[in-house]
Structure formats: structure tokens, C-alpha cells
């Protein structure tokens, strides 16, 4: 290649690379906007709530006096509700996604299910609350309990889990499926031994953003009757004697962190705003903690699998 040509090419590359740089900057800026917003929010919460973030805050019940009020019943409630939500939404969501992606024949029923799933994602959360009030609380007689709340939130995040899982499943190349089938694997073996393990990373994403959504939800659980003042704890899930596990807590009344926050933010006293902020910090911490396992797993999986 002669010299002018090379210069021409360098010019072209420089022009193209300008886009690389522009994009990298734009990307970084977008990222920063997101992260900075989060940091701003978090900083605001910390700045406001720090004085309240003392051990006493975690082990006291709500109270009319802001200094004495704590989040014991709220964080215990959130933990238990999230447990139910995760246990219900993840298997149900992953199973639905597997059905839609790997089993469903391409017919109208599948199309209906598919449209329906994404449609559900747009239903306002309060409507899930109305549904749950009728269905879980009254029809199934689960009462205004941890179980009802967990199931409600599970329904709420189901679409997110399903959609993310489906995309993860779809990303597994066809050649891998062919290889498994060719060895005599049944459909389920193919799915459970290959497609599912290889798509765990994407599934984790669905679980993470689903649970993150659930943990911050207020409206639907207010509708089904989460309580704002509750100064006792549910039955412990683990007991000292055989069979060591107890399910009485499922039917207990409860409150959760966002409701506690919601309540505090709407109090007239300024001091409660600090409590709300402190609770916000704890809530974000809990979210990270809750998602920690999923985040770690996703990291491991994505490092290992490259097509």
C-alpha cells in the first residue's frame, strides 16, 4: 500500500476512532449520571440518617418518639417477605421462561402467554395489591400475612424474572443444544444440564432487578394490610426443638422497611425524616446483601462462560 493511501486510511481510522472516543465519553457520562444519582440519593440519605444509624435503631420497635423508634419489626418483616418472594418468584419465573423458550409450540397460546407476560410488567403495583387482597387475603384465606405479601410481590416481579430468563436462555447457541440432543439427551436433560446452567448469569440479572424492585415496593403491601405499627416479631422460623423449622411465621402480621419509611416521611415531625433516611440506607444495604449472592454468582458464571 502506498504512502498517501496509508495516510488516507489513518485519517479514516482517526475519524472512526473519534466515534469510539465520543461514545466512550458519552457512555461514561451516562454511567456517571446513573451512579452519581445513586450516590447523591445515598449521600443525602446517609447525611440525613447517619445520626440515627446506631445499634439501637436496629433493635427497637417503632415509636411515636423519633429518637426511640427503630426498625426491628421492619427489617425482620422485609427479610421474611423477601424470602417468600424469592422462593416463589424464582422457580415460577424460571419455569415459565423455560416453558416459553424451550417447550412452547409456536402457536397462538404461546403468543398470548408471551404478550401477557410483558403486559403484566406494566400493571401498576397497586393493582397487584387489589388483586392480592381479593385473591390471597380473602379467597385463599391467607390473611394479612407475610405469606400473602410475599406471594403478591412474587407475582409483581414474575414478569421481570420471566423476561430476563427467556433472553438468557435464548442466548445459548443452537449448536450447544444440538450437541446435547445428539447425545440422546431428552429435552429436560438438555435444558437442565446445559441451557439452564449456561444462562444462569442472565437469570441472576432478572432475579436481582426483580428482587430489588420487590424490596422497595410499598403500595401493594399496604393494600393487603402490612402494618405500620407493630411492636412484636413474627414467630421464629427456626425453633430449638425438632423439626427445627416452623412455618407459623408465614401467617403472622408484619411490616416492611419501605412502609416504615413511607410512614416516617409523611410524619410532620422533622426528626422522623432522619429515621426515614436512616431506614433508606439500611434498605439499600439490605438489597445489596440480598443480591450479593446473585451478583457474586453472576460474576463467576460470566467469567467462566464465553462462546
Amino acid at each position: 500500500m502506498n504512502q498517501p493511501n496509508i495516510n488516507e486510511m489513518r485519517g479514516l481510522i482517526a475519524r472512526h476512532k473519534r466515534w469510539d472516543i465520543i461514545f466512550a465519553i458519552v457512555g461514561l457520562v451516562c454511567l456517571l449520571v446513573g451512579i452519581l444519582t445513586l450516590l447523591a440519593l445515598f449521600g443525602q440519605l446517609v447525611a440525613e440518617g447517619l445520626p440515627r444509624l446506631k445499634p439501637g435503631f436496629f433493635i427497637s420497635f417503632p415509636s411515636r418518639s423519633a429518637e426511640e423508634a427503630g426498625i426491628l419489626s421492619a427489617w425482620v418483616g422485609t427479610t421474611l417477605v423477601m424470602l417468600v418472594t424469592a422462593l416463589a418468584a424464582v422457580p415460577l419465573g424460571v419455569a415459565s421462561a423455560i416453558y416459553l423458550e424451550e417447550y412452547a409450540p409456536k402457536n397462538w397460546l404461546t403468543a398470548v402467554i408471551e404478550i401477557n407476560v410483558t403486559n403484566l410488567a406494566g400493571v401498576p403495583s397497586i393493582v397487584y395489591g387489589l388483586l392480592a387482597l381479593g385473591l390471597f387475603v380473602y379467597q385463599l384465606d391467607l390473611g394479612q400475612s407475610i405469606l400473602s405479601a410475599g406471594l403478591t410481590l412474587a407475582l409483581l416481579i414474575l414478569p421481570v424474572v420471566i423476561v430476563a430468563t427467556r433472553e438468557a436462555l435464548r442466548a445459548v447457541p443452537g449448536s450447544i443444544r444440538e450437541a446435547a440432543y445428539a447425545l440422546g439427551a431428552t429435552r429436560w436433560q438438555m435444558v437442565s444440564n446445559h441451557v439452564l446452567p449456561y444462562s444462569q448469569g442472565g437469570i441472576m440479572t432478572g432475579v436481582i432487578i426483580g428482587l430489588s424492585r420487590a424490596i422497595g415496593e410499598t403500595a401493594p403491601i399496604i393494600t393487603i394490610g402490612a402494618l405500620t405499627f407493630i411492636a412484636f416479631l413474627p414467630h421464629p422460623p427456626v425453633t430449638g426443638e425438632f423439626p427445627y423449622l416452623s412455618f407459623a411465621w408465614l401467617k403472622d402480621p408484619f411490616t416492611v422497611m419501605p412502609i416504615q419509611m413511607f410512614n416516617w416521611t409523611s410524619r410532620p415531625e422533622e426528626a422522623f425524616q432522619h429515621n426515614a433516611a436512616a431506614a433508606g440506607v439500611v434498605l439499600l444495604g439490605m438489597t445489596l446483601l440480598m443480591n450479593g449472592v446473585a451478583i457474586w454468582l453472576r460474576y463467576r458464571i460470566r467469567k467462566r462462560i464465553k462462546w
Binding site: 411515636r64 394490610g225 402490612a226 402494618l227 405500620t228 405499627f229 412484636f232 410532620p268 415531625e269 422533622e270
Partner: protein, 308 residues
């Protein structure tokens, strides 16, 4: 487990919460009390299904709810527990308002004002030629119902072009930031933010003095017509449960102190006495006819025949 279940209005919630907290401490945790917030309407829905023992209500029970309770065979005891004084507020920088008459307020808030009354001097020529920015609670709230009834004369009759929010703190923010703002909400939000707001003294009728909201003016009945009682409704069959009985006794006894503590206005001593009597007698039914009413005194109310 011995549990007292309470749900309902967010306005009454602070008092009930305070009582529940102290009651549980006094009982050393033997009796559990839960208090929810799902609005007066949501509270009555649960109450009339027999799911709660007590319902917090910022307004009297209405016809629809009475019917629902009747259909489910639920009788209730209506007990006023405190006053909520609706407070009209303006920005502290507002130097032209010394007091307002009900008529002036009506001129601003009545439906006919929508889109027409947009400047202060349209209401009173002495006031400046500046836009009015209005803030108020959402049309779904008992506060809105009461204010419209008391000022405009007809419940829910209001102009629509004002900034509404469920959350009174949002209204506080709105008014405190805008020199031309005017808003109304519960007294407790004013008293907690008294530095950022200015309460408007109200002249009930021409010739009467302008009265500012305060514990005393509400309690002695001179702050009119914007003070209203708030209630709890007790399921009559729950009264058979000793824990509920003990709780209500405790409630009525400690309400004067605790209401004040949460910045609500306690009823006169006599009213609590009457309420206790009603409760002991298990006097069921409401003193209202399923319709909202303005300006009734609590004592009178408690002596009325209960309607079902």
C-alpha cells in the same frame, strides 16, 4: 395470642400509635396491638368484614359503610378521640394577610373560582396584584371533604386547579417555597413547621374575631369552622374480649396527654368522660346519619341517638 387489630385513617394514626405503644409497654408485651394505615375507607372495609377490632376514622362512617357493616352484622361504637384543626397557611413572606374570612376563603376555593380567581386582589382589593398559588390535600381525603363542607358549604365542592398531594409534607414544601402560596392541611403539620409557614387567623362570620388555630382555641370551640373531631370505631363484639376493653379504657384515659404529644388537639375532659360512658354502655351506632356535618360539638354528638 391476644392481639388487638386496628386499621384505618392516617390522620388518626399518630394518636392510636402512641396509645398502642404505651399500652403494650404497660402490659409488658402480654397483649399485642397492631396499627395499620389504609385510609378511612380501607379501614372501614376491613372493619365491616370483621377483620379488625378498631377502625381509625378521620370522618364519620358513611352510608355505604354503614350498609356494609349492617350486612355483615357488625355493630360499632363510635368514639371521638381528638380534634384535628385544619390550618390555612401562607408563606411567611406574605405580609398582606392578617386574617381571612370564611367568605374570602370561599371566594378562592369555590368551583366557580376555577380559572377566574387567579390573583390575590380579585379576592380583596387591598391585597396585591399577584397570582395565587393554591395547595391542598387530594380529593380522596377526609380533610378535603371537611374543608369544602366547612368553607364552600358543600362537601367535595371545590375548584380543581390547585396542587394536590396526599402527603402533607409536600404541601408544606410547596407553600414554604412560594411567596404567593395558600394552602391548608392538618394542624400538626403546621405546628411542626411553624417556622416555615404562617397560619392564617380565621374569621368565622362578620363581626366575630379572627381566631388563630391553637390547642386552646380548638379545645374551647372558638376556632371555627375548621376544627373537626376524629374517631375510632370499635367493633361491638370485640368489646367482649378483655384485651380490647382494656385497650379502649387505656385509650380514652391517656388520649388527652398523648394527643397533645403528637400535636393533635385533645377533646375537652368532659367529652372523654362521655365517651367512656358510651363505651361502658356499649352504645352502638353513629351520631351522624351517614352524612358529613360541620360544626357539631363533640358533647352533643356523644349524646345523640346512635343510628345504624
Amino acid at each position: 395470642d391476644r392481639i388487638v387489630k386496628i386499621d384505618g385513617s392516617s390522620t388518626v394514626y399518630p394518636v392510636t400509635e402512641a396509645v398502642a405503644e404505651d399500652f403494650q409497654k404497660a402490659k409488658k408485651g402480654e397483649i399485642k396491638v397492631t396499627v395499620g394505615i389504609s385510609g378511612t375507607g380501607g379501614g372501614f372495609k376491613k372493619f365491616c368484614r370483621g377483620e379488625t377490632d378498631i377502625s381509625d376514622a378521620s370522618r364519620p362512617i358513611l352510608k355505604k359503610e354503614m350498609d356494609a357493616c349492617k350486612a355483615a352484622g357488625i355493630k360499632y361504637i363510635e368514639l371521638p378521640v381528638a380534634y384535628d384543626a385544619l390550618t390555612v397557611v401562607v408563606n411567611p413572606k406574605n405580609d398582606w394577610i392578617k386574617s381571612m374570612t370564611v367568605d374570602e376563603l370561599k371566594k378562592i376555593w369555590e368551583p366557580a373560582a376555577q380559572g377566574k380567581v387567579t390573583k390575590w386582589n380579585q379576592v380583596n382589593p387591598a391585597w396585591p396584584d399577584a397570582p395565587i398559588k393554591l395547595y391542598g390535600p387530594g380529593a380522596d381525603s377526609g380533610t378535603f371533604d371537611y374543608f369544602t363542607e366547612a368553607i364552600v358549604g358543600k362537601s367535595k365542592s371545590s375548584r380543581g386547579d390547585f396542587t394536590a398531594s396526599e402527603d402533607d409534607n409536600v404541601l408544606v414544601q410547596g407553600v414554604s417555597r412560594d411567596k404567593n402560596a395558600l394552602g391548608y392541611f392538618g394542624y400538626s403539620y403546621y405546628s411542626e413547621n411553624a417556622k416555615k409557614l404562617k397560619a392564617v387567623p380565621i374569621v368565622e362570620k362578620a363581626g366575630k374575631p379572627a381566631v388563630s388555630p391553637s390547642f386552646d382555641t380548638v379545645k374551647n370551640g372558638t376556632y371555627q369552622p375548621l376544627s373537626r373531631p376524629v374517631f375510632i370505631y370499635v367493633n361491638a363484639s370485640s368489646v367482649d374480649k378483655p384485651e380490647v376493653r382494656e385497650f379502649i379504657d387505656y385509650y380514652l384515659k391517656s388520649a388527652p396527654k398523648l394527643a397533645r404529644e403528637v400535636k393533635m388537639v385533645p377533646l375537652p375532659e368532659k367529652a372523654y368522660k362521655l365517651a367512656q360512658d358510651n363505651f361502658k354502655k356499649k352504645k352502638t351506632g353513629t351520631g351522624f346519619g351517614g352524612e358529613p356535618e360541620v360544626g357539631v360539638s363533640v358533647e352533643e354528638l356523644l349524646q345523640r341517638e346512635g343510628k345504624h
